[in-house]
């Protein structure tokens, strides 16, 4: 395969004659496009005669290289085969089309961005309220026609979001219990307050850590899965297909997820709290020599049972909100990959933020409840 070459010969009248030959194709010129362009540009004078009869193959990339060197027009003195000339004619035609100018940037761009953000927040809030409203209407409808309860969907979601989450929540719970107990033990031993390990672990895990830990894990695990699932269903028009069959998407797709997490989350909280306490108990036994029997005996006195109810209530509320947030973002997915990833990220981040906010609200409203009397 002959490479793209150009041979320069001076002519008697002072002008140059450039013979172009070889293969002027993308594959042949790609490796030294810059060098070729430079050599061509050096010869590009109006009086230069160009001889392209030796060109074996010419594609638009090769032609573009020449075209740019010639200053975006054919030189006055040019020899070329007709089929190669056609390639340049195509380029010339494309060049004549008006190029779209970029929109001028306004000096108030920052203001517009802020406004757009505010409008987005407003629209998102409105959509979220609409979603909650339609769930409420679905629940009313179910009261009148209990047969329409999507049992199979609820049980499938319970299994996916609840049962399948048990191993990972147990593992994380156990390890957190061990770490918390170990770190507290180091401090307590300095004050000789060893037995308060039960109070610290009990209150911390049952009331705060258990529910929040499970919520974060479930938001990352089930929340993202729900958003992605609804998003892909939207992209493949499955949701539209459901609508044309007269099936309410909120009843069939959103409600089962909300109900399933509302049931599964308190159970997961109970499970994780128990495992975390076991982890703490094991570490306390190793570090502080506190026996299992003593730990279990002291726990009910150190932690009033109201704390457990608060933890379960948190799980219930967190579960509902995680599912709602996930469905809200899932239904907003547009048919492209970028939108899917952006909405899945937004779903998880928003769900975790909402969980922390709700936790703060719980802390304020339950500040009088469940604290041990000294």
């Amino acid at each position: 395969m002959a490479e793209a070459t150009l041979i320069v010969a001076s002519q008697a009248d002072g002008g140059a004659r450039v013979a172009i030959s070889g293969r002027w194709t993308l594959a042949a010129i790609a490796d030294d496009a810059a060098a070729l362009a430079e050599r061509l540009a050096a010869q590009a004078r109006p009086e230069t005669a160009w001889d392209g009869l030796g060109i074996e193959a010419l594609d638009s990339a090769g032609a573009m290289l020449l075209w740019r060197a010639w200053g975006r027009r054919l030189p006055a003195l040019l020899l070329l085969r007709p089929d190669h000339l056609q390639v340049f004619e195509r380029i010339a035609k494309a060049d004549r089309l008006p190029q779209p100018g970029s929109a001028p940037t306004s000096p108030f761009a920052w203001l517009m961005a802020t406004g757009a953000l505010a409008l987005t927040v407003r629209r998102q809030t409105a959509d979220f309220v609409v979603l909650i409203g339609s769930i409420a209407l679905d629940l009313l409808r179910l009261l009148r026609a209990p047969g329409e309860l999507p049992r199979r969907e609820i049980s499938a979601n319970l299994y996916k979001g609840g049962v399948r989450a048990m191993p990972v929540t147990a593992l994380v719970g156990f390890l957190i219990g061990v770490v918390l107990s170990y770190l507290s033990a180091l401090q307590l031993r300095q004050f000789g307050a060893d037995i308060f390990i039960v109070n610290i672990l009990g209150m911390g895990i049952v009331r705060e850590l258990g529910p929040v830990l499970v919520a974060v894990l479930v938001a990352g695990r089930s929340g993202s899965a729900m958003t992605a699932q609804l998003g892909v269903m939207r992209v493949t028009e499955e949701i539209d297909a459901l609508a044309t069959m007269g099936v309410s998407r909120s009843l069939r797709l959103v409600l089962p997820k909300v109900v399933a997490l509302a049931i599964a989350m308190p159970l997961l909280v109970l499970w994780t709290t128990a495992i975390a306490l076991v982890g703490g108990m094991v570490a306390a036994n190793i570090q502080l020599d506190i026996g299992f029997g003593f730990f279990l005996h002291t726990l009910p006195r150190a932690v009033p049972v109201a704390n457990l109810y608060i933890g379960l209530a948190k799980g219930f509320v967190f579960g509902i909100f995680i599912a709602l947030v996930a469905c809200h973002f899932g239904l907003r997915v547009r048919p492209n990959t970028e939108s899917l990833s952006a909405n899945t990220t937004a779903s998880v981040v928003t769900a975790i933020t909402v969980v922390i906010l709700l936790d703060a609200v719980f802390a304020i409203f339950t500040r009088e409840i469940g604290l041990p009397r000294l």
């Binding site: 810059a34 594609d59 638009s60 990339a61 573009m64 056609q86 089309l97 492209n336």
Partner: protein, 258 residues
């Protein structure tokens, strides 16, 4: 002229099910070949094997005179740059604008400067009869016909010698499909491309192809011009080409072609 695609003794098996057996096909450079066959006859599978997405169970495929696999990643990559593929749904990168979609393979070469790439992208857009202002649309904003055109422009970005099309006119209305067929035919002739396409659509087949390859009974049953294929007496060919609807389509396509 040498063979653009040469398939010898190809056999493909999915689990226990044989899709191809002893399949041979030689496509000369410069031909526009339609690959037809019933549903499940392995047309798309064959096309995917030609571009190296699927490995045949047995047999050899040579594209542009070279084997698809072996000889190191550099050689394989260089060969893959010599053919363009148009997927059925376009397979545009949805995160990129039209411009970036077409520019992507050129940028991947890492040899061309951005100004040259810009000129080449605008040229390709013009070649597929789109306007410069379409360059900044996102794939989600395009109609079905435009998606196909952008995908065609992208598959032409690296100046391929061989173009493989999977159902190029599926999902287009007859008007759009006619103009897309005309576009492929014009570009094929002007750029000296070899074109291989899988199609169900008789209008596309009659409007585009210089030759037809009929895939049935696990092999290439016939590979010839349309007229010659029509004369073969075989149940599949009778069903596919000689039903009342098909005859009408072929005749109208012939009238348009004259």
């Amino acid at each position: 002229m040498s063979a653009a695609v040469s398939i010898r003794g190809l056999a493909t098996r999915f689990d226990e099910h044989w899709v191809h057996r002893d399949l041979d096909l030689e496509i000369e450079a410069g031909e526009l070949v339609s690959l037809v066959g019933g549903s499940g006859s392995g047309k798309t599978t064959l096309l995917r094997q030609m571009v190296g997405l699927l490995l045949p169970t047995r047999g050899e495929i040579r594209v542009l005179g070279e084997p698809l696999f072996g000889g190191g990643p550099e050689r394989e990559r260089a060969l893959r740059r010599r053919f363009g593929v148009l997927f059925q749904q376009g397979a545009l990168f949805s995160a990129f604008s039209v411009f970036d979609n077409i520019a992507f393979p050129l940028r991947e070469l890492k040899r061309l400067d951005e100004a040259t790439i810009r000129d080449l992208v605008m040229l390709k857009l013009d070649m597929v009869e789109l306007l410069p202002r379409h360059a900044y649309l996102m794939p989600a904003e395009l109609s079905g016909g435009m998606i196909k055109r952008v995908a065609l422009a992208r598959s032409l970005a690296l100046e391929p010698e061989l173009l493989l099309l999977d159902e190029p006119t599926a999902g287009l209305d007859p008007d759009r499909s006619d103009s897309f067929v005309r576009l492929i035919r014009t570009l094929g002739r002007e750029l000296g491309l070899t074109v291989v396409l899988v199609t169900h659509d008789l209008d596309t087949l009659a409007g585009l192809s210089t030759r037809v390859a009929v895939l049935a009974e696990h092999r290439i049953l016939a590979y010839d011009t349309i007229d010659a294929v029509l004369r073969i007496d075989h149940p599949f060919i009778r069903n596919f080409f000689l039903s009342e609807r098909s005859v009408r389509a072929l005749e109208s396509a012939k009238r348009l072609g004259d």
